[in-house]
């Protein structure tokens, strides 16, 4: 069983410099969150490259290694990339390093041929030599089996096509399914027996050539051998070509499907354009407002100084005004008192003054005369009054906080514009890569490929017919030779019959093994499917000869048309069942597996994740699955969580997230 422990990647795609990913232990799930175009698929490719040395791009094309290296590092003169994977397999610990670097003589690599790739593997602390290394890598995982462990939505779609129209699927995938199920153990042995039959036929031929009686039949037999070899070669060639072109055809169909999505991308780009325009116009309005405000900025800066002076001047001047009022009142009183003293009567009510009242009046006059003199000595300077008036006339209602707020808003909006423009550039690149001429080329290529497949299939049929006729002819010759009664020929004929009988046994064994495995896959796929589906009326899945699965209603009827979501669930069920029945057990890494599913299906898959494989790593975008929901659903079964954070369009970082119960 393969258990991944840790991955170190260096300058791989947007992952600039050295970055680490620790996988969850068996029984737990590792989740990596990341928005679109941050590097989730690249991370899946980094894991795939670390295990099998393959980088797969869109349409299942091999990606260029030159373009896989980090662009920012390349701009700084550092080319190439490297992955190191620590894993356990069959009781041993491995450290597997793969990478590529520019060839010694190349200073500025321009394409893949300017690089050399390297692989180093350490098993239990011992560096393996080239032969041991190849053997170990072959045993751990082959590119054919890796597709069942490391997959994205595009690969899942390939299985959906297998489920929808198995006849159109390449032999390669069916062969891969049988390989992961262990069928080649028997088919390989059967092929050896077939080779042995041919060897015995050669022995018969040699023996027949020795006798005059049988010599002419032996000559015809030799000619038949040659025709058979030729026909077998042709069949092998045509089958390989049909399979290759079949894969190419599928890849072109997917490519055309993507080109059909062009209008969605164009609409997204138009929305972005509008958003940028709106932001720019808002920025322009804010800049105008700031220009207006900045005309008074100088006086707001001096606000504390002006306020301080105004307050202190107001205090001083205010006291003087109070004194001035008192002085006026006192003068008025003094005048009235003096008038009363002179007339001997009250100046207000004209009542005659008594002696005691005259004394009080005299004392009051003395006090008023004194206060009037003191007040005179405290009167302010004229310039102070001028300054006080100036201080009150200066506008100091500072709008600095408002200005500051506007400046912060402008900063945020500029960042938003830069981000939107970057996204727009990405979309422009994506759109230009799907231009109309590309679509025309792809359609014409598809047409040519279909014609080529047609021609090849006809040639294949002819060669198969030729082979079948030759086999019949050889059988006939064999019977004739046996009838003639040459003892040596008779001996080899007995050997041939024994070999044929054994071949029939193995033929039967292969049929029975396939039937058995199909039943097991059907049973396990049904079990997983019923856990994942949200439709209670679905009864089971039914498998056909080509591993295609159909949904069967509880009433026994096959559901003829399936939704995209249902197909997605069936494909996941098939993968889980293949995993369960596989001769190789390993982890699964899924990129954006919930894209087309509703929340009910997503929830069911999340709950079943730990049962789908021993070790699960999920690469998801946030809108695909909410983090709180994931934590709640998996309840302590999350081993590690990461977030792919954007630094720039060409630089992302893997940031570990903390959480309860994480390893």
């Amino acid at each position: 069983m393969l258990v991944l422990n840790k991955l170190k990647i260096e300058d791989f795609g947007p992952f600039k410099g050295v970055q680490d990913l620790t996988f969850a232990k068996p029984g737990k799930v590792c989740i990596v969150y990341g928005e679109n175009m941050r590097g989730k698929t690249t991370l899946l490719n980094a894991i795939r490259y670390a295990i099998i040395g393959q980088i797969i791009g869109r349409g299942f094309r091999d990606e260029s290694i030159h373009e896989t290296g980090n662009w920012e590092s390349a701009e700084q003169g550092k080319f190439g990339f490297r992955t190191t994977l620590w894993f356990d397999f069959d009781g041993s610990s491995f450290e597997l390093t793969r990478g590529c670097r520019p060839r010694e003589e190349v200073k500025q690599p321009e394409n893949d041929t300017d690089y050399e790739e390297y692989v180093d593997i350490v098993r239990d602390g011992k560096v393996l030599g080239p032969e041991e290394r190849e053997e170990a890598l072959r045993r751990v995982m082959s590119p054919e089996t890796a597709r069942f462990f490391l997959f994205d939505a595009e690969l899942l779609q390939q299985y959906e096509e297998l489920l929808r129209d198995p006849a159109k699927m390449g032999r390669q995938i069916r062969a891969a399914i049988e390989r992961i199920l262990g069928v080649p153990v028997l088919t390989g042995a059967r092929a050896r027996l077939f080779d042995a039959e041919k060897d015995i036929q050669q022995d018969i031929n040699k023996a027949a050539k020795k006798s005059r009686e049988t010599n002419h039949l032996a000559t015809v037999q030799t000619q038949c051998f040659e025709i058979r070899t030729q026909a077998e070669k042709e069949i092998g060639h045509y089958q390989a070509e049909v399979s290759r072109l079949g894969e190419h055809q599928q890849s072109l169909r997917r490519h055309l499907d993507r080109l059909d999505d062009l209008s969605i991308l164009q609409s997204e780009r138009n929305s972005l354009k509008q958003e940028i325009q709106h932001l720019r116009s808002d920025l322009s309005l804010k800049a105008d407002k700031i220009r207006q405000l900045n005309a008074d900025l100088w006086v707001w800066i001096l606000e504390p100084e002006i306020k301080y002076l105004r307050d202190s001047l107001s205090a001083e001047t205010g006291d003087w005004i109070k004194h001035q009022v008192c002085l006026e009142v006192n003068k008025e009183l003094l005048g009235r008192c003096c008038e009363g003293l002179e007339s001997g009567a009250c100046s207000l009510c004209k009542t005659e003054l008594s002696d005691s009242a005259t004394k009080v009046l005299q004392s009051q006059i003395a006090e008023l005369e004194l206060s009037t003199k003191e007040t005179n000595s405290e009167s302010p300077q004229t310039d102070q009054l001028v300054r006080w008036r100036a201080a009150t006339s200066v506008r100091v209602s500072s709008q600095v906080p408002f200005l500051r707020g506007l400046l912060h808003e402008i900063e945020d909006e500029r960042i938003a514009v830069a981000e939107a423009e970057e996204k727009q550039r990405d979309l422009d690149r994506e759109i230009s890569s799907r231009d109309r001429s590309d679509a025309r080329r792809a359609r014409s290529d598809l047409e040519t490929t279909q014609k080529e497949i047609g021609v090849l299939e006809r040639s294949l049929e002819e060669s198969q017919k030729k082979l079948s006729e030759t086999e019949d002819r050889l059988e006939e010759i064999g019977q004739k030779l046996a009838r003639i009664g040459n003892p040596e020929v008779g001996f080899h004929t007995h050997r041939l019959e024994a070999c044929k009988a054994l071949h029939d046994v193995f033929n039967q064994a292969v049929v029975e093994l396939r039937d058995e495995l199909r039943k097991e896959v059907e049973k396990d796929a049904t079990r997983v499917f019923l856990r994942l589906t949200t439709e209670p009326d679905y009864g089971n899945l039914q498998i056909n000869e080509n591993y295609g699965l159909q949904i069967v209603h509880k009433d026994g009827h096959v559901i003829p048309v399936r939704s995209a979501g249902a197909e997605h669930i069936v494909a996941l069920s098939l993968i889980a069942a293949l995993q369960k029945n596989s001769s190789v057990r390993g982890p699964i890494v899924m990129d954006s597996p919930f894209g087309r599913l509703d929340s009910g299906h997503t929830d069911h898959i999340m709950r079943s994740l730990p049962d789908l494989a021993d070790q699960v790593t999920l690469l998801v975008y946030k809108s695909e699955i909410d983090r709180d929901l994931a934590i709640d659903t998996l309840r302590g079964r999350i081993g590690h969580e990461y977030e792919i954070q954007r630094v720039s369009a060409r630089h992302s970082i893997l940031l570990p997230l903390e959480g309860n119960g994480h390893e």
Partner: protein, 135 residues
Amino acid sequence: MSNAQDKTVIAVTPETEEILKRVEDSASFGDRMDVAKLAMAVAIKKNLAPAKSSGRNTRWNVGGFDKDVAVNVTLRLLYPSEAQPYRLAEDLIEAGAKYLNDLLQVDGQFHLLTFLKDMCPEEDRTTEADKTANG
């Protein structure tokens, strides 16, 4: 105090003119005159000695420079013994421009937000307090 001999135009040296232009170009100012007043305020705020430099070129008429006489009033308020506020304004602009030039040395740009932090720290504290109060 009389201002009979005070200046009727504001003049600046070519060096100061260049600094004012750079600030105007890298921040949002509608007129270079606004930057000149900002330089004057910086000199006052930072207690810089008025710079008595020579070789100045006439730039603005005081009527246009100080339409609402706010500069005149402010300088009279802050410098009560100064009889010629516009002459003082010129010298303060020269001193303040040198300070602005130091700010430009960091990356060639005038960062208004950083400048406000330096010139209006009270505002910053209030904002922080407000932020805390608002949770």
